[in-house]
Structure formats: C-alpha cells, structure tokens
Symmetry: C2
Subunit: 329 residues, 2 copies
C-alpha cells in the first residue's frame, strides 16, 4: 500500500492538522519509462506554506493533490537505464511512501552520505545558504552579517558560512534555548531573541558596528529592525518571508521601504536557488569539505514516520525546529 | 543686500509658503580664502523635502538656516587662485542672492553651456538619471523600462536614456497633459496616468511583456503597481520615494514586500549620486553628445525670481512641473 497525505485546503491562518487527510492508495502500477521510488526521507520547508497560497516559483499545491514535498528516496523498480534498484535519488516525491516519477524528475545522489545531510546540507537547503551568502550577500572579512530564522535549516548554515568567510555573525531566533544553542554549538558571535521585548534595540546592541549583510528568511518586523541597523552600502539577501506565509490577513511591512534603500544605498535582492543549480557541484564540494573537517555543523531535526509530517510542518512554521526539519518514511 | 529665504519649521503635512520667511541680510563680508558667489539659478528637488524631515545622506536643514539648495552661480569676489570673478560654479549656495563659500565647496563649470542645462542635465539631475539607468538598472535592448515621476527632471531624462539603450519605455505621470507631453515630445512608447482609475491595471496594459526595470522616484502605491507587473529577474532602481517625503502620518507600503522579491528574484537597489561622482566626466560627455545631436531632450521648467522659490518647490512636490524645476535669481 502507498500511505499518503492529501492536501485539503489553504487555511486562512496558520496550518493545522485538519489541512491534510491521511489515506492509503495501492502501490502505483509501473509504467514504461517511469521509475518507482520508495521515499526514505521527507523535507519540511517554510516554502511548503507558500505553495498552498498560490503559484510561486512553482505551481500551487491544489486541494486533492498528494501534498508536495522534497524527498530523498531509493529506486525500487525501474526499466530505465541508469536507475537500477537501490539508486539513491532526490525528487519532489511528495508526502507518501511511493512515487512514480520520470527519470528527468530525479537527480542521482551519492549512496555514501547520510540521508539527513542529503536532504539538508547537500541539497536545496545547503545550496540556498551557499548562494545566498556567497553570490547574493558577498561578505567581506570583518563584515557584520545578521541572519533571521538563524536556528532554521537555511539560517543555521548561512550564519556559519558567513563566519567561515571571516564575518562577525549575529543570529536572530526565538527563545533563549535556541539562542544559547546558536552561540554555544554553532559558533555565532552574538544572538538576538525576537521574543524578548524591543527586538529592534536588541539588534542594535548585538551589532555595535551596524549590519553590512542581512540574510533574511522572515520579513515583517524583523526586516524593519534590520533596516534600522543597516550600514550604508549594505545588502539584504531576501531568502524567504515566512512572517507573511502563515499570517492571517495583512502582515506588517516596514514603513521604511523603499526610502531607506535610497538614503542608505542598500541592495535588497531575492533569489530562488533553482536558478543557480549550475553552482551546485562546486558548492557541494566545499560544503562537504567544511562539514567533514568540522568547520560547518549541519544540524538536523528529524522525526520518525510519515504520519508525523503535518505535525513536523506545523512545528517548523511555529519555529520549533533546530536545523533541518525532516521526517523519515 | 542679500535676499534670503529662511527655513522656519518642518511641516507635518505638505510644504506651504509659511514654512519659509523672506528676509534681507547685508551682502556677506569677504573672508580670506573664501569666494563670494552670486547665485544665478536655484535648483528645486524632491530631496529638499526629505532634508527637512531629518538627516539623510546630508545634514538636516534646521529652523533658522537659509534654506539649503543646489545652485549655479558666478564668482563676484575672490582672492583665491583659480576662481577669478566671472567663473561659473556649482555649489550648495542656498536660497539667497549671495553665498560665501570655501573653494572646496565649489565645482568650476563650463561657461559656454546654458544655465538651465548646467543646473539640470549637466549636474546632479542628469548624472542621477545616468547612474540609475546604466549602473543600477542596466537595461538590455528589448527590455521594458517603467519610470515613475516620468515628467520630472530625473524621470524625463531616465526614460529617454533607457530608450537610447534600446528599451521600450513606459512613463507614469499625473494627468493627461503630462502624459501626452511624454509621448509626443519626449518619445516615450507608452504612458500611465496615475490619476486615472486603477493605475495597477493601466500599468499592466501599458506593459504587455511585463516590466524588466522599474526606475522609481515615488514609492508607495506606484511601487506596488510596478511590483505586480515585474518580470522575473527584474531590477528596481530606487532613486527616490517622494510619496513618503510630503506625506502626513503613515504612508502606504506595498504588502508584497519583501516576499515578491524572492518569488520573482528581483533586485531592488537604492543609490545616491554623490557616491558616483567618479563617473561624472564620462557621463557628462555622453549626455552632452546626446543632447547636442537631438537624441535627448533636456526639458526645463524655469520660473523667474528668488521670491518664487517656495512656490516653485510646492509646485514641484505637487507634481506640477515638466522637466527640471528651477528659478532664476
């Protein structure tokens, strides 16, 4: 049987478990030219929420669809040359046990790397951090780099990459535990707890020389606080805007926009990692080197079982995770 | 005597004549090492309003100051080598007949160019358009370039420069007369009247292939309309935010920010022309060539007499001008 989570509707406010329905379908029938993949690990990403709201850089997830999701899986049946059973592949395999996919929807991955790194640091997540820091933000040694959602999958890597580039790194995260973790375990130079009173003042205090690069996963009030602390000529890497994904009604937008971009000569630039896949081989080689030499810590937050996927997404959107959020299947 | 406009206070809402006080002071006494300049033409700029509100890229204008302003003047007395009487200079000469300035505050200008071009196309205004289009926006032939405040000093030049670069140029301006002028006199390919109902729809209609570059002098609702029409990979040149300069209370900010920068991979970049003065010689040579060969029309809106300076600024901030707003002194 093929266990599946069906997407039911786009909620107005935060995602609840009611948004998904648990069903079982028969294992898909093989079709010539297709590959049957057993999903092994499912990635939960803030973008999952944006996909429900409308078309983004990819088609909207529609009611009745198996919920879309990025997966690492193993080929179990295939008559396609180059995809023998046992091949490890990444794909948009969805929230289910099995996916029948065309070879062009699969990317073959090394079989000797741990699954939680294959779905995190060595996939979209790691490449997003790499491109955002090095290609969009372009830190110089001595820069102050501020990262929002710093305890998240992308933020935790982005901050460490900026540190490797010689920057002073300040992370914004929710709660004293996550903040302590960033400092003590991941080597962030300073932290800002966005749940503490007066986040804007806390950002200023944590960045006495101002902010040269803001790597933003959040938007909203956090972006406003960063804009107030930016140095002239600073860069804002727009990686995500999770503050608006799960919001009910109107979300907060900084009243400083766009005037502050002029007076402080700021560059604010969004990117989607899928445009930068040509950089993957080099990026992955470097990420692997830094991970294997202990300079970079790829933190993961993995829960067991496909049945926990909705709970894991809700936890992620509430900021409950540390590092890459995924479930084993 | 030295006629002067004194800045009295920063108004909460739009600037009124009451903000300035007309006085007469004695002609300044010469001081060794200083140059006495007779102001000949005063530039009115949207940034004048921002200077009243607080420090920007330059110090705030404070109550009691002679109102700050960019001027073209003529040296009348000087014991400084290289600045003989009759030398044409640009300076922050202020809203007055005479200014006593240090040589390092003066830039010597060619005496054979008309004053209204010296204060417009061949000064900060022209260089702002040039840097914004070529260095920040970087149009490719075939791009659609949308310009807000297109009938203004910077916008009218910026649109024409984009046309020279092979782009299709669409101007946003207020009222059918200014729109007709942009099309018929300045060669814009299409126009959007922001005073007409549903500006957002009008932008879409005028830009059937979407917008590749938005050269923005305005911000607010106009920026929101442009963001909705932007193509993936588009660039937003943040040159000014006049919608917020003269606003009472909270001004409108697009709810699409910053999420749309991510999904459409947009670069939104502010600049201040003073950072780019190293480009002036080349820019001015090219602007002069285009003006003298008739490719570029440097439109000016010049009123007579220093006493009209407040009225001219109010007209400018209300969008009443066509091209460079200035007064003769």
């Amino acid at each position: 049987m093929n266990r599946q989570w069906i997407f039911r509707y786009n909620p107005e406010g935060p995602v609840t478990e009611d948004v998904f329905e648990w069903t079982q379908a028969p294992e898909p029938d093989m079709i010539d030219g297709q590959v049957l993949v057993r999903n092994r690990m499912l990635s939960l990403d803030p973008a999952n929420r944006a996909w429900m709201r409308g078309p983004t850089y990819r088609p909207q997830v529609m009611p009745g669809d198996v919920m879309h999701g990025f997966t690492i899986g193993e080929v179990v049946k295939s008559h396609v040359a180059g995809f023998p059973p046992g091949t490890i592949v990444e794909a948009m395999g969805g929230w289910q046990d099995y996916a029948l996919l065309a070879p062009e929807e699969l990317t073959i991955r090394p079989a000797d790397l741990p699954l939680d790194h294959l779905i995190g640091a060595y996939s979209i997540t790691g490449l997003t951090s790499y491109i955002g820091i090095f290609d969009i933000g372009r830190p110089r040694a001595g820069d102050t780099v501020l990262v929002s959602a710093a305890a998240g999958a992308v933020g935790s890597l982005a901050g460490q990459l900026a540190r490797i580039a010689g920057a002073r790194v300040v992370g914004i995260a929710g709660g004293s535990e996550k903040c302590a973790w960033l400092k003590d375990e991941l080597g962030f130079d300073a932290v800002v707890d966005y749940k503490a009173p007066d986040m804007r003042k806390a950002i200023r205090a944590a960045c006495p020389d101002g902010v040269d690069i803001f790597f933003d996963n959040v938007g909203g009030e956090v972006l406003d606080g960063a804009l107030r602390a930016m140095n002239e000529g600073g860069r804002i890497v727009c990686c995500g805007a999770v503050a608006s994904y799960d919001a009910k009604g109107k979300s907060y937008v900084s009243p400083l926009l766009p005037g502050v971009l002029v007076t402080k000569r700021l560059r604010m630039q969004g990117f989607i990692v899928l445009d930068h896949m040509d950089r993957r081989v080099v990026a992955e080689r470097r990420l692997r080197h830094w991970i294997e030499t202990g300079l970079l810590r790829a933190a993961t937050d993995v829960e067991s079982g496909l049945e926990r996927a909705p709970k894991a997404l809700i936890k992620l959107l509430a900021g409950g995770n540390r590092g890459k959020m995924a479930v084993t299947i």
